[in-house]
Amino acid sequence: MGIYLPIAEISVNVFVLLAMGAAVGFLSGMFGVGGGFLITPLLIFYNIPPAIAVATGANQVIASSFSGALSHMKRGTLDFKLGGVLLAGGIVGSTGGIYVFALLRRLGQLDLFISLLYVVLLGTVGGLMLVESVNALRATRSGAAPVLKKSGQHNWIHRLPLKMRFRASKLFVSVIPVLGLGAAIGFLSSIMGVGGGFIMVPALIYLLKVPTNVVIGTSLFQIIFTSAYTTLVHATTNQTVDVMLAFLLMAGGVAGAQYGAKAGQRLRGEQLRALLALLVLAVAIRLAIDLFVTPPNLYSLSGAGLN
């Protein structure tokens, strides 16, 4: 069944989008990630213009992180104060990101920049995860107990000034890295259309030493607001949010996430991480190939001044 997307101005198949949303929702439920980093490249592969894929991806991320954050709030695994400080940084980063986004679009370099960011970030994160999970798999196979790397209790981050106490996270840490992390995620959110959970979660655990149980809830909490803000600003400055597209993805996504979570419980942690790493790397490689292959049309047209 075909449907015409009002903002993207192309006809697409409803079931392809629902399936895309469900598949990504399934994976996000299984691996505990937002799925924005998969949705946006998938939309680009499906010929949705990158600018619209990014803004709509941000919109779609709100739905999955909102429903995730609700359950963490109920369980009390959400640090509002830490989330609030991250959010303050996120708003600044997102505003900067939107400005860069509009500038790149005017210069005609937006598509390239989005692809490059995806290739670099997904390649790095996917590569690191793959190495880590393969090592873990090998360790369990050889029978040795997995060695948990115990990094020093205090690193350079804990020597920074302007300390603040976060009770729910049992943390006493400078606000500078927290704001900085929030800003970086906000920037990526507005340029890549991702929630940024795949960077936020490891950063909170390894850099700020936030207890693992509050990390996901807090990360989701901040992602709701950063991506809501990103969606609003994209809607007002670039008019690139396609609600029809976002809704189809969300509808598939919320359903798929629940089944994914169930399936995830049956797989072992290292296997899950290895699979996710392979998936992330596959997306990165596919995007990288497009950068190097001679495009069918060397020339492209775009409106001047209008967008």
């Binding site: 919109n59 739905a63 809501a228 969606t231 994209h234 949010v241 609600v243 029809m244 292959v293 049309n297």
Partner: protein, 263 residues
């Protein structure tokens, strides 16, 4: 939707009036008229292109010339003009990057031509240039006229090529047919991605290769339907639209949790 039929009955009357009594006078110059049955066309979201028919008439046509087929008509449907940036990708360290670009002012978004005969048989290239007529002769004004002529020429050609490839610039040879000595019918193509806005239909009359007269009419193309309302709201009330998009996402997230709750 797109079959606009207007028969200009006036043509027949004027022919009768110019009959026997005018014998002694010098032959009147020919005139051309076109008419549209409506001044606006609505297309829906699923629009996949259509043919638009425009009727027109020749006044004071010389029967002899008409019999010999030496009258030619070119009809153009020209979309609204907008500035356009043409960009060229080049390889930088193996990666394809948009490097050079050229901005053109007032480029018609669409340009469909219908002719009685192939363009090269109607008149000479110079006349086309002077009239700025035909997709390949249409004058495209670069925003920065100081760029080298070779660059401007290259990007102008690329612009025409891209427009033709997307069906926005089209040529329909034989699209204008004389139904009688005075009456003609022109069929111009509307591409699926035809832009909304004010389009201008223009008819050019040639007699034995010489340009005689031009006539024009305006046509408003609008999109209708639910999708178009969304588009309009997104552009006219973009902040409210953003708030709606965010609320819809939260509502979906919340409902999804209610429906599929597992904890």
């Amino acid at each position: 939707m797109a079959g606009l039929r207007t028969v200009a009955a006036a043509a027949l009357l004027s022919l009768l009036a110019a009959g026997p009594p005018a014998k002694a006078q010098a032959p009147l110059t020919e005139n051309i008229q076109i008419g549209l049955s409506t001044d606006n066309v609505s297309i829906t979201a699923g629009f996949s292109g259509a043919d638009l028919t425009i009727f027109g008439s020749l006044e004071n046509a010389d029967p002899l010339v008409a019999r010999q087929g030496r009258y030619d008509v070119i009809v153009v449907l020209e979309g609204p003009a907008r500035p356009v940036v043409v960009r060229r990708k080049d390889r930088v360290l193996g990666v394809w990057v948009n490097l050079e670009s050229e901005t053109f002012e007032n480029v018609p978004v669409s340009y469909s031509v219908a002719t009685t005969r192939p363009l090269q048989d109607v008149t000479d290239p110079n006349s086309y240039k002077q009239l700025s007529l035909g997709a390949s002769n249409l004058y495209l004004q670069p925003a920065d006229a100081e760029d080298s002529p070779a660059t401007i020429e290259e990007f102008t050609a690329a612009l025409r090529e891209r427009k033709a490839a997307t069906g926005l610039y089209s040529e329909n040879v034989g699209g204008v047919q004389f139904l009688s000595q005075n009456l003609f019918r022109a069929t111009v193509r509307l591409a699926p991605n035809v832009p909304v806005g004010t389009h201008k239909a223009r008819a050019f009359l040639f007699k034995s290769g010489l340009f005689i007269k031009e006539s024009s009419a305006q046509l408003e193309i609008r999109k209708s339907g639910f999708e178009q309302s969304i588009f309009r709201v997104a552009h006219d009330y973009s902040f409210l639209y953003g708030v709606f998009a965010v609320s819809l996402a939260m509502l979906t997230g919340w409902l999804g949790r209610l429906v599929f709750r597992k904890d």
